[in-house]
């Protein structure tokens, strides 16, 4: 803590070094470093139980004793700040005796059930007992035992959450889990009860430990007190080997480690691979348990071909023959422009690049897009939002930002690691966070102020902040005059009224932005999916210029998927940026001269029978694209549809040929995270059945088409590398832009704004196949506030009819303590209910009518 504070408040002190002697060697460390950190830095191992690098030290376990000259008592090094001239011994006889005593104390009531304990082999207590403990026990009494009602033996465990199992007898009360839960995750479902040597960790009364970060509690437990049903009793840790990889569900590219067994070709678990620049060693549950889709028995193992209206299993050769024949016919008869493609932004660079090349060279078509799940209006590579999305962003810069604005982003549902990062900034330094959203979000619990605006008034909020700054004279007056004529409304009070935010709140944001020394300002999915995203981006550029933010901090629209940034950089858009386009042309010697259609336009063209053949790789537009009926009509009309996926989905049902796609754990791939950083994910297991990675599938299709054959994999890699090197940041225009509030078509009785979200335990359409994640949430629901529920006279779990002008679904109500206004949230992660059927692709904000289902 001291370290972070020193760094932030007084940079000149941060450089101040102190020199101390540890075990006879001198070392200089920045002021504020603890003795433990200094020793670790020197390669001296100091044993700990309760210390965690990302939590404030508490000095509870007392294992990290050191002896310091001139200090009469043993000191706990985890909480002892290094001082000039300190002489520290980490291995003196007194220290050894002290540690031995601690191990003895801890073992008093610890059941020595290592042979049946799942932690055996990777247990801190086991290791440290070998290293520092004694061989015999002087404790000749009955050990203390926790036995609950219904437990027959003391070895019975207690399930305290959908995944987590607690054995209190093994617990050594290091409090790491409770502290991490509260401090790092902001969750209160786990606590300490009773006191003294009968103190116990337990779930809060009447609650389950089911927060979206709960898996970390298991990982940081030093003993076998917290285990999860994902891993326990499946395999011994020493029988597994590890493979480093990155998460395929988050855009930050959380670093992970696969634990797998070679001969069984199976992954057993995922743990963190701490990377302080990206994840700080915390994993969201969706990252931790999401790997289970790889092992799912439901995976597609062989290609399927539609014969007489039924999909039947076939060999790769048969499937490729059909593809080559049918695509060849379409191309010969109507030209390659009659073929389109939709790929997933979670595929690796090589697969994306290969798909792009397939479309643009083999078919000479520009019909390719990677955005298959949100409403899109025609865009060009230099439209304001694309500029905003191309801006550089560094996750680690959140740490020392003094002002953080999260705009249109429900962090816990889309950028889970970034939320933890912001929490950390708040815990360790004096950071002001503002959360600006159309509904109250969980992540606003760290916010200095939460602004909840009326759905569909994003640009008015931003204009309002600018106006408040101008009215309070917080900004350059020349700039103020320049901006005032370009925006509407004319006064902050009017803006506040229109967007339903208190003017005081707008003023506070304005003041913070003008006073902030390092600002992090980012937008999330609510902005990305808004029809008016270009207008909102322009409003943000105005704000950036007005507050002179170019020189202090960062502003960007965060990418959502594991490789969205890679797809953007490799030109998977119908119309790549000019520089990229010319580079591609020079590599391929081709430049397809034909209209460029985004996903929405492609669907429209299919309906007009202008696109006849379609190739989908890893995407599921039937489930995710707004307006399900629209997509369905389109895909059904196609002459020939090829879909590659891990599972049979609603989209594969419509396909003429289905190809089994390998998951990211089954081949080496590179992914570009939201910072633009390329990370490698290594192959952990062999592909299931006959599944193939994306680039291999594309290569076989190219071969089947008997057109130009691609170069080798090495050449693909070097070309990808070259493309990624291209500058992708588009400069933000230096002029103020006009921002007049856009209309928001509110539809009469359809008056509840609907936001389609990811459940905090899910991401996209695959994770419901992970049993652990399904244990948390396996059914769709409609999340509403207490007020809305009261109005509808529904209670938790009652059925609610959600109707829009074009469709309806019936879902159980989930009454949320977070939401306060009249909105409804709908998770899109469950195939059982086509939630997208109520969405309208041309609307700014989806609006629905809610009613109780009378049984």
């Amino acid at each position: 803590m001291a370290e972070a504070t020193a760094k932030k408040d007084t940079p000149e002190i941060a450089e101040q070094m102190v020199t101390l002697t540890i075990d006879g060697k001198e070392v200089s460390v920045p002021k504020g470093t603890t003795v433990l950190q200094a020793a670790t830095q020197m390669g001296i191992h100091v044993p700990t139980f309760c210390w965690h690098p990302k939590l404030k030290p508490v000095g509870a376990c007392r294992m990290c004793y050191v002896e310091v000259e001139k200090m009469p008592k043993l000191q706990v090094s985890c909480a002892l700040e290094a001082m000039d001239g300190m002489v520290v011994y980490t291995d003196s006889d007194t220290v050894k005796q002290g540690r031995k005593a601690i191990i003895e104390f801890i073992l008093l009531n610890h059941p020595l059930d290592c042979p049946t304990c799942d932690k055996g082999g990777e247990c801190d207590l086991q290791n440290l007992t070998f290293a520092h403990g004694v061989d015999d026990s002087r404790f000749d009494f009955q050990k203390y035992r926790f036995v609950d009602e219904g437990m027959t033996t003391t070895f019975d465990d207690k399930r305290i959450g959908p995944e987590i199992v607690l054995n209190r007898n093994r617990c050594i009360l290091c409090y790491k889990c409770v502290r991490a839960n509260k401090e790092a995750f902001g969750e209160y479902d786990l606590g300490v009860y009773e006191r003294g040597n009968t103190a116990e960790i337990n779930s809060a009364p009447g609650e389950e430990v089911d927060n979206p970060y709960s898996g970390n509690l298991v990982e940081i437990c030093p003993v076998g007190a917290l285990t999860n049903s994902d891993w326990r009793y499946k395999i011994r840790v020493w029988l597994t080997t590890t493979t480093p990889s990155v998460c395929n569900y988050s855009s930050s590219g959380t670093n992970i480690l696969f634990f797998k067994e070679e001969h069984k070709n199976k992954i057993y678990r995922v743990t963190s691979r701490p990377n302080d620049d990206i994840d700080d060693g915390w994993l969201a549950d969706v990252t931790r348990y999401g790997y289970q889709v790889v092992n799912s028995p439901d995976r597609l193992k062989k290609p399927l071909i539609k014969k007489e209206g039924k999909q039947v299993e076939a060999s790769w050769k048969e499937a490729l023959d059909v593809i080559g024949k049918r695509f060849g016919e379409i191309k010969a008869k109507l030209g390659g422009v009659c073929v389109g493609a939709l790929v997933a932004p979670s595929l690796d660079n090589a697969s994306l690049y290969a798909a792009s090349r397939l479309m643009r060279t083999a078919f000479e078509s520009n019909n390719i897009d990677f955005r298959g799940d949100y409403r899109m209006l025609p865009d060009n590579p230099e439209s304001p939002f694309m500029i905003l999305a191309s801006q550089p962003f560094r996750i680690a810069d959140i740490d020392d930002s003094d002002v953080i604005v999260s705009f249109g982003s429900d962090l816990v549902k889309e950028h889970q690691n970034e939320y933890l990062r912001i929490r950390k900034a708040c815990n360790f330094s004096n950071t002001s966070v503002f959360s600006i959203n159309p509904y109250a979000v969980k992540s606003a619990d760290v916010a200095r102020q939460e602004l909840v605006y009326k759905p569909g008034t994003e640009e008015i909020v931003i204009n309002g902040i600018c106006l408040a700054a101008i009215e309070d004279d917080l900004v350059d007056r020349n700039l103020a005059v320049g901006l005032k004529s370009r925006i509407a409304p004319a006064a902050a009070a009017e803006a506040a009224r229109l967007c339903g935010v208190e003017i005081g709140a707008l003023r506070n944001v304005a003041r913070a932005l003008s006073e902030g020394k390092k600002v992090t300002f980012f937008t999330g999915e609510i902005i990305t999916r808004s029809r008016e995203r270009d207008l909102i981006a322009t409003a943000l550029f105005n704000l950036r210029k007005l507050f002179k933010m170019e020189s202090k901090g960062q502003m960007a629209a965060l990418a959502r998927y594991a490789n969205s940034k890679g797809a953007e950089k490799l030109g998977l858009l119908p119309e790549p940026k000019p520089a990229l386009k010319s580079k591609l042309t020079s590599i391929w010697g081709h430049d397809p001269d034909c209209p460029a259609n985004i996903t929405d336009a492609m669907m429209a063209q299919i309906k007009k029978e202008e696109i006849k053949g379609f190739f989908i790789m890893g995407a599921n537009p039937m489930m995710l694209y707004p307006d399900r009926e629209f997509v369905k009509e389109g895909l059904e009309k196609l002459e020939f549809l090829v879909v590659c996926d891990l599972f049979e989905t609603e989209t594969t049902e419509l396909a003429d040929v289905v190809l089994p796609l390998a998951s990211w754990a089954e081949y080496d791939g590179y992914y570009v995270n939201l910072e633009g950083k390329t990370q490698k994910a290594l192959r952990a297991v062999k592909p299931m059945g006959e599944a193939k990675p994306g680039y291999a599938i594309v290569n076989s299709i190219v071969a089947a088409l008997k057109t130009e054959v691609f170069q080798s994999d090495e050449q693909i890699h070097s070309q990808v590398k070259e493309l990624l090197k291209l500058e992708s940041v588009i400069p933000i225009p230096d002029e103020f832009g006009d921002v007049h509030p856009a209309s928001d078509d509110r539809g009469g009785e359809y008056n509840v704004a609907l936001y389609v979200i990811d459940d905090p335990h899910h991401s996209g359409y695959l994770t419901e196949k992970a049993p652990s994640l399904a244990n948390f949430v396996s059914e769709p629901y409609i999340e509403i506030s207490f007020e809305v529920a009261a109005k509808l006279k529904v209670e938790q779990g009652d059925s609610v009819r959600v109707e829009s002008e074009i469709g309806k679904v019936i879902l159980p109500a989930k009454i949320s303590e977070h939401i306060t206004n009249e909105v409804a949230l709908l998770p899109r992660n469950f195939a059982s209910t086509g939630v997208t059927s109520v969405m309208m692709r041309k609307r700014r904000v989806d609006r629905v009518k809610l009613s109780r289902v009378v049984e």
Binding site: P57, V58, G59, A60, C61, R62, M63, Y65, P72, K73, L74, A79, E81, G98, A101, I102, E104, F105, I106, L108, N109, R138, F139, D140, F141, Y144, I172, L173, Y175, G191, V192, E194, R195, G196, N197, T198, A199
Partner: protein
């Protein structure tokens, strides 16, 4: 177990004229604001508001030599001086009224009988550190104290001694009466702060010290009831007057809670340095041993301080003198034990208390107290094993000085001294499977 009737102004009867804390303690109306004011109450508060700066108040208290009466004896004025002047954060004052040390019952008397004295002291101290919100954290079991303090607080608000713009001085001060949930550990200042914040009552690591980062991470001063109650008198009569009482390094007067086998148990306010033997045997004070039995030992400063044997009790009751005989002044709870008490039984009672009150945060205290209780219980039951005493000593050594807060030390110090002073009695218990003391005495 240690409840005793209050016999208080004995010292004045004995010709001592400088009593101040207990001067009106026997007036049954003293807890009412009218009586308190008639006795000169809130004069000091008005004086401070009218013409003293915060620094002047601190200076006066420093001059008085007042030291913390909660047990540690840290100079009060110096503690106030640690509040960073430059900090823009709000400051808080917490009056520590979580009086739970076995044998101590002095703060309770002050709160029940002279609550306005406590409030006035708190107000002046709050002023000294520029605090506008002060708390009194009252032990959960002290319901009568809470009632009295709340009544007194309401009266003080009604009279304008608290609230906004007090007496036209422009100074605002609010007060909150907070009760604990019944944990000894919450008398430890950082655990007390956690408890007020709504957290689990567990001590925090220091540094940062509460004066820098305390309640809600803001500068906070935690003072004992008795310390704060002394402050108005220091302001009224001057630091020099206060410093003229007591010994060279221990100034002023102190309330001692005398309990156990004496004829006249109770709270006595005496000058610092008062002779312990006199306090126990003088007819004006303790009046000698109950039933004229022989004295076996004395715990001079609450259950957590080492024992004194009869040959050691001719000693002054002040911080330094007690240190020279190997014990501590602590909170001033003097527990007198006669020859009939089995020392193993006494220690069993004590370790049970400390084991029960250990918060469970740090390993040595949490596990060690439990282990000690088990061993001591077994010895007391006549099931002791050879080597148990050495084991106890070894475990005590592994706890002493190795815990976050002083609770661990408090638990083992009386054990260590009891073994040192009466080792033969312990050995007899183990060897003969019975008690050396003829009649096994029960405290009433």
């Amino acid at each position: 177990m240690f409840y005793s009737p209050v016999i208080t102004n004995a010292a004045e009867a004995a010709g001592h004229k400088d009593l101040h804390l207990f001067k009106y303690i026997e007036d049954p109306q003293q807890h009412k604001i009218e009586t308190y004011e008639a006795h000169g109450g809130y004069k000091a508060w008005k004086k401070v508001l009218k013409g003293m700066s915060a620094d002047q108040v601190i200076e006066e208290v420093k001059k008085s030599g007042l030291r913390g009466r909660g047990g540690a004896g840290f100079p009060t004025g110096m503690k106030w001086g640690f509040v960073p002047k430059a900090s823009t954060k709000p400051r808080y004052l917490c009056c520590n009224a979580d009086e739970s040390e076995p044998g101590t019952c002095k703060d309770r008397v002050l709160m029940e009988r002279d609550p306005h004295g406590v409030i006035e002291g708190m107000a002046i101290s709050a002023y000294a550190i520029d605090c506008h919100l002060m708390f009194i954290y009252i032990r959960g079991e002290f319901d009568h104290c809470r009632e009295r303090m709340e009544q007194a607080m309401d009266e003080a608000y009604a009279r304008g001694h608290l609230g906004k713009n007090i007496n036209g001085s422009g100074y605002d001060l609010e007060m909150i009466v907070h009760t604990g949930g019944g944990a000894y550990i919450c008398g430890e200042e950082t655990a007390l702060l956690n408890s007020i914040e709504g957290e689990r009552g567990m001590s925090r690591m220091r540094p940062p010290f509460p004066a820098i980062e305390g309640l809600y991470a803001c500068p906070t001063i935690v003072n004992n009831v008795e310390s704060l109650a002394s402050v108005p008198h220091i302001i009224n009569r001057g630091g020099d007057w206060y410093a003229s009482l007591g010994t060279e390094k221990s100034k002023g007067t102190k309330i001692f809670s005398l309990s156990g086998h004496v004829k006249r148990p109770g709270n006595y306010e005496v000058e610092m340095g008062f002779n312990l033997k006199k306090l126990i045997f003088d007819p004006e004070y303790g009046g000698g041993m109950l039933d004229d039995k022989k004295l076996k030992g004395v715990i001079p400063g609450g259950a957590s301080t080492p024992f004194l044997t009869p040959d050691m009790i001719d000693v002054g009751l002040d911080y330094e003198a007690l240190q020279t005989v190997g014990s501590m002044l602590g909170s001033g709870a003097i527990i007198v034990i006669n020859e009939d008490a089995c020392i193993v039984w006494v220690i069993k009672k004590l370790i049970h208390f400390f084991r029960h009150e250990s918060c469970g945060k740090c390993t040595p205290c949490r596990e060690g107290t439990g282990w000690l209780e088990k061993i001591i219980n077994r010895i007391e039951l006549g099931q002791g094993q050879p080597g148990d005493i050495e084991k106890i000593e070894d475990v005590c050594g592994n706890i002493l000085g190795r815990t976050i807060c002083p609770l661990g030390d408090a638990a083992v110090m009386p054990i260590q001294s009891a073994i040192k002073q009466w080792r033969d009695e312990w050995l007899y218990h183990i060897e003969h499977k019975k008690c050396m003391v003829k009649t096994n005495f029960e405290f009433k």
